[in-house]
């Protein structure tokens, strides 16, 4: 079931440099969403662009959901200014969700604006007491809002070394788990900028690890009626192919795709 619901903003804060967290009361979406899914947002009621803005759900439960986003343009600038009590037009939950983490040792890797769905998964894993490793990347310490706790398998990286380990998330991965040093059931879950996802995918390939990636494509609707959000899959294109075979829809068939399945992360 997909809901269109007026979410009531109950908090909206800058949690790191240019990164905001908003908590909504949104009972229907809260009770039906799973980690990895997203909502599609109308930044304001007099929004004059035609597209909503998709944002991963960072947490759900107790009638609430939260999102974590970077202020990068017009829509997210409006969002960063939402007042407490404001009603926001949300559509969700949308898309597929993280799977296969119960029977594996999950390494979950987030970076840039791809932290929300990873944090959501982290929370679920903690709650379900599933042992896992969390790796988060940022450009510098100001963009992190989380402690670096190697003892708890929580590793932060920064490009400039100002917090956690200097380098990117794959540098961390390689240092903790050198190529070949994985247990059989390790599975990677990742979300982040295309370049990072490509590197994570390469790392998984080299280690022959199962790897799921949450991709961000431009979306007009978020629920399957515009066919704009395509991701190219390694599907046979000769013969009779359906229109969602080679070009999958990120909003219905994704946003999470298996790394093996797709051509590129862009």
């Amino acid at each position: 079931m997909i809901y269109r619901e007026m979410g009531k903003v109950i908090s909206n804060e800058e949690i790191a440099e240019g990164i905001y967290k908003t908590v909504f009361i949104s009972p229907n979406i809260s009770s039906s969403s799973m980690p990895g899914q997203f909502v599609n947002i109308l930044p304001s009621l007099d929004w004059r662009n035609v597209m909503r803005r998709p944002m991963s759900i960072a947490s759900q439960g107790n009638d609430e959901i939260s999102i974590i986003y970077k202020s990068v343009g017009e829509g997210t600038r409006i969002m960063a200014n939402w007042a407490i009590g404001e009603k926001v037009d949300l559509i969700g939950p949308l898309g597929n969700y993280w799977e296969g983490y119960k029977s594996s040792f999950p390494i979950i890797v987030g970076g840039g604006v791809g932290i929300a769905p990873i944090l959501n998964l982290h929370d679920v894993l903690l709650e379900k007491k599933i042992d896992h490793c969390l790796i988060m990347g940022a450009r510098h310490s100001g963009e992190h809002f989380f402690p670096h706790e190697p003892q708890n398998k929580v590793f932060l990286s920064t490009d400039d070394g100002s917090l956690g380990i200097k380098g990117n998330v794959v540098d961390i991965l390689k240092s903790i788990y050198p190529i070949g040093k994985h247990s059989q059931n390790t599975k990677i879950f990742s979300c982040g900028p295309p370049m990072m996802m490509d590197e994570v995918r390469n790392y998984s390939n080299e280690n022959k690890l199962d790897c799921d990636l949450a991709l961000e494509t431009i979306m007009a609707c978020g629920f399957g009626i515009c066919q704009g959000c395509t991701v190219e899959r390694k599907a046979e294109t000769n013969g009779v192919h359906s229109y969602r075979n080679r070009f999958a829809l990120a909003c219905l068939d994704g946003p999470i795709f298996n790394a093996e399945e797709i051509i590129s992360c862009v």
Partner: protein, 304 residues
């Protein structure tokens, strides 16, 4: 609010635009699809089409450009997989057909006609490049449009609507060609050719470089085209382009449209057509308008 095209009565003059509402069932959680005056389905072609590679859409000021590339199942699967679910809808269904050669269009229609579909008519998308004629769109050429209409007309007694492209010097000539070919109505407009470039990557924002512009940005262009066509033909016109409010619907009716379609704004609000039906009915009673016909083409020119 009721309005008739030939002998078919629609419960409201507000339809979905092809390619912007899937096959009606995708939005069932958020909208009671049967409250629309009718559903016009995503273009179907003779053979399956995977569509264009990503990126396929990009936002522009008050609009968007797209180059979906007519991704669809092809008419065979359509008959088996889509028509049964369309038959379950309680609202009127119009099937949109696209093609790149006369033969494709005709075979597609023949196959659809051979099924016991409950659909009331066809909308023919003539804005696709015709491979035989070296890539010229049917929709930019009067003879091709008339010939295609004549052949389609021979094959169906259902509603036949030719969908016009705005990317021509004189849309009124194409509309007349559709009329003399035997179309029951024309719809206008399809998207306007547009392009956008990402200055960072220097790549076109669409994989195909060129795409179709839609949304509120094009409403003035759509109104102008509808009004030009209104002055040129006697068959009904279905107005399309940038509709977002009940006032927009009235504007199209005044310009000469008998019905309208909503496209891009469905993405923002999948319930829009149903909401506007309510607002339109309020508008009618507030302004003492008894029937939609009292608005159609009733724009009053300035006197100078």
């Amino acid at each position: 609010m009721r309005v008739k095209l030939k002998d078919i009565e629609f419960s409201s003059p507000i339809l979905t635009a092809s390619g912007t509402y899937g096959y009606g069932h995708e939005v069932r959680d958020m909208a009671d699809v049967n409250q629309w005056g009718g559903i016009i389905t995503k273009s179907v072609t003779r053979h399956p089409r995977e569509g264009n590679p990503p990126p396929r859409i990009a936002e522009t000021r008050s609009g968007m450009i797209n180059s979906i590339g007519l991704a669809n199942l092809g008419v065979e699967k359509y008959c088996n997989e889509i028509i049964p679910s369309l038959n379950e809808l309680q609202t009127k269904v119009i099937i949109n057909i696209a093609g790149s050669a006369m033969k494709d269009y005709l075979e597609t229609m023949e196959m659809l006609e051979s099924k016991n579909g409950k659909h009331v008519g066809y909308e023919i998308n003539i804005s696709c490049p015709n491979v035989k004629e070296g890539g010229i769109e049917f929709g930019v050429n009067c003879e091709m449009t008339e010939q295609l209409t004549i052949e389609m007309r021979k094959r169906t007694d259902k509603l036949l609507i030719m969908k016009l492209s705005p990317n021509v010097t004189r849309i009124e000539d194409i509309a007349q060609a559709a009329e003399s070919g035997g179309a029951d109505a024309v719809s206008a407009i399809n998207t306007v050719v547009g392009m956008a470039i990402d200055v960072k990557t220097r790549r076109p924002k669409l994989n195909t470089a060129f795409g179709g512009l839609s949304g509120p940005a094009i409403k003035p262009i759509a109104i102008a085209n509808v009004h030009k066509v209104f002055k040129a033909v006697n068959i009904p016109i279905i107005g399309i382009g940038g509709i977002a409010t009940a006032k927009d619907v009235v504007e199209f009716l005044l310009a000469g449209a008998t019905m309208v379609q909503i496209g891009t704004m469905n993405y923002q609000n999948p319930n829009l057509g149903i909401q506007l039906k309510g607002e339109l009915s309020e508008y009618y009673s507030q302004n003492e308008i008894e029937k939609t016909e009292d608005l159609i083409g009733k724009v009053e020119y300035h006197s100078n």
